[in-house]
């Protein structure tokens, strides 16, 4: 993925160009509700009460991330959208169980999305999975026009996050990365990963642990929520 370097562009754009108004902040005030923006937890509660505006705002903040998780697992745009819609429906139902002190809304929504996507994946027969994968459309060719309600600074922030995550994953050893991705995107347990990779169980456990430790350190500035 190539990010347009806005700093570079600043010297070349017209001084009034709207692109120059895009803030370069990568902090997410939406999470905690600073600067007059409702926080995620507040929005979640309002959405669960049927506030359509809050529903739209939660979608604008995390719909794309949830879709990315769903797509990565089910590998079909239509199925990924189905998963996201189901995940949001579950989120509204289970909003009362969300504990703000135990993680961010983004992480909570991701867990729900992953779970729904894996459910869908498991419902397919192995043969169907192979066929679906072979026939899946190129994600680049299905690009929509983005999330209509997302703000420009959120779009820039997301791009920066994507870049940093890709870099952080690239810094892992390939076996560490493979073990983590098999666990998260295919829903495999330690022992199933060991079996899949034909590696000792302890080796797989170590790879998952060390790889995640490394990611935690390198991605901490990009967490949706910071923890004291």
């Amino acid at each position: 993925m190539r990010l347009v370097d806005l700093t570079w562009a600043r010297g070349r754009l017209h001084p009034d160009d709207p692109l120059l108004a895009v803030p370069h902040s990568f902090l997410h005030p939406a999470v905690t509700g600073s600067q007059g923006t409702p926080g995620d937890a507040e929005l979640l509660a309002r959405a669960a009460r049927g506030d359509e505006r809050a529903v739209g705002m939660v979608y604008d903040r995390y719909g794309q991330v949830m879709y990315a998780v769903a797509y990565r697992i089910v590998r079909q745009p239509g199925d990924a959208e189905e998963v996201v819609a189901d995940a949001f429906a579950q989120a509204w139902r289970d909003a009362g169980r969300f504990e703000a002190g135990r993680g961010s809304v983004a992480a909570w929504l991701t867990v729900i999305t992953r779970s729904r996507a894996l459910d869908l994946l498991r419902a397919r027969s192995r043969r169907e999975r192979i066929t679906d994968t072979a026939q899946r459309s190129d994600p680049e060719s299905t690009l929509g026009m983005g999330t209509p309600g997302a703000s420009p600074d959120a779009a820039v922030e997301t791009k920066e996050r994507e870049r940093r995550v890709a870099e952080a994953l690239a810094d892992l050893s390939p076996p560490q990365r493979a073990a983590i991705e098999l666990a998260f995107f295919e829903g495999l347990s330690h022992s199933e990963i060991a079996e899949r990779l034909n590696e000792p169980l302890g080796t797989v456990k170590t790879r998952v642990r060390l790889g995640m430790q490394k990611l935690r350190e390198s991605l901490k500035p990009y967490f949706y929520e910071r923890f004291a």
Partner: protein, 261 residues
């Protein structure tokens, strides 16, 4: 290496957050998690990591219909329940209108209050219109920004010969063979003239879109089809009769090399 290295629950926090523990392990871990706030914090951090993992791959975007579908799937709203912030932002004009309605109903200055009531509703209608316009404008800006920030988009400058002030920026998405142009400071045109973009392919001009700048010299055209195949080496802008021309009929006004083409 063996599982014996995992002597403490903390060693399993990452795997738990990833969903990599066996069911029995996960259950035992959750019992510890409920009592250990430090462990809970660690799991929360690993969940943040997990939430980011999918961003590593260039992601497609959901269709615009998904947002509408999610909103349509919002739970039914209790009639009598609203948050304090909504009350402050959305309901105040309606409350004002309702109080005015009540006063009017009670007969006190009925005609005058009725007029104020109409004003309040007109104010609401104007505000709703403005909000809708702003939403539309933001959606358009967002689409443009998405296109500019798409992976692989390259930026080229078309400048006037001998004069660096007017110019056109051309954003080329080679993968999709689409471009966006933005003009700055280009001179105004008579009513019967237009600017036309040309792609130079194999040394020959291929006609593209026409555009007329606003009074400040600015214009923007999106979703421009770039000629397929190799050999597109430059882009240029000429002044043409309204409607454009199959071949340039005037000297090149702006030109820029598309390097790496």
């Amino acid at each position: 290496m063996s599982g014996a290295e995992f002597g403490t629950p903390r060693d399993l926090a990452a795997a738990y957050a990833l969903g990599a523990l066996e069911a029995s392990e996960a259950k035992a871990f959750e019992e510890l998690l409920a009592r250990d706030t430090e462990l809970a914090r660690e799991v929360a951090e690993y969940r943040e990591v997990a939430a980011l993992l999918a961003l590593a791959e260039p992601a497609s975007s959901p269709t615009d219909g998904l947002r509408a579908r999610v909103i349509a799937g919002a739970p039914p709203r209790p009639i009598s329940t609203t948050s304090s912030s909504e009350a402050g932002i959305n309901w105040m004009p309606w409350a004002l209108a309702a109080s005015l309605l009540l006063a009017a109903w009670m007969g006190a200055g009925r005609a005058r209050l009725g007029a104020r009531l109409e004003e309040a509703f007109a104010l609401l209608a104007r505000r709703d219109t403005l909000l809708a316009q702003r939403d539309t404008s933001l959606a358009v800006q967002q689409r443009t920004l998405d296109a500019l920030l798409a992976p692989g988009v390259e930026l080229y400058q078309l400048t006037a010969t001998g004069d660096p002030v007017p110019g056109v920026q051309l954003f080329w998405d080679r993968k999709r063979n689409r471009a966006i142009i933005q003009s700055f400071g280009v001179k105004p045109l008579p009513d019967d003239r237009t600017y036309q973009l040309w792609f130079i392919q194999d040394g020959k001009p291929v006609p593209s879109v026409t555009f007329r700048p606003a009074a400040d010299g600015r214009a923007q055209v999106e979703s421009i089809e770039v000629p397929s195949g190799a050999g597109v080496t430059a882009a240029a802008v000429t002044e043409e009769p309204l409607g454009g021309s199959p071949q340039p009929t005037s000297a090149i006004y702006l030109v820029g090399k598309l390097s790496g083409a």
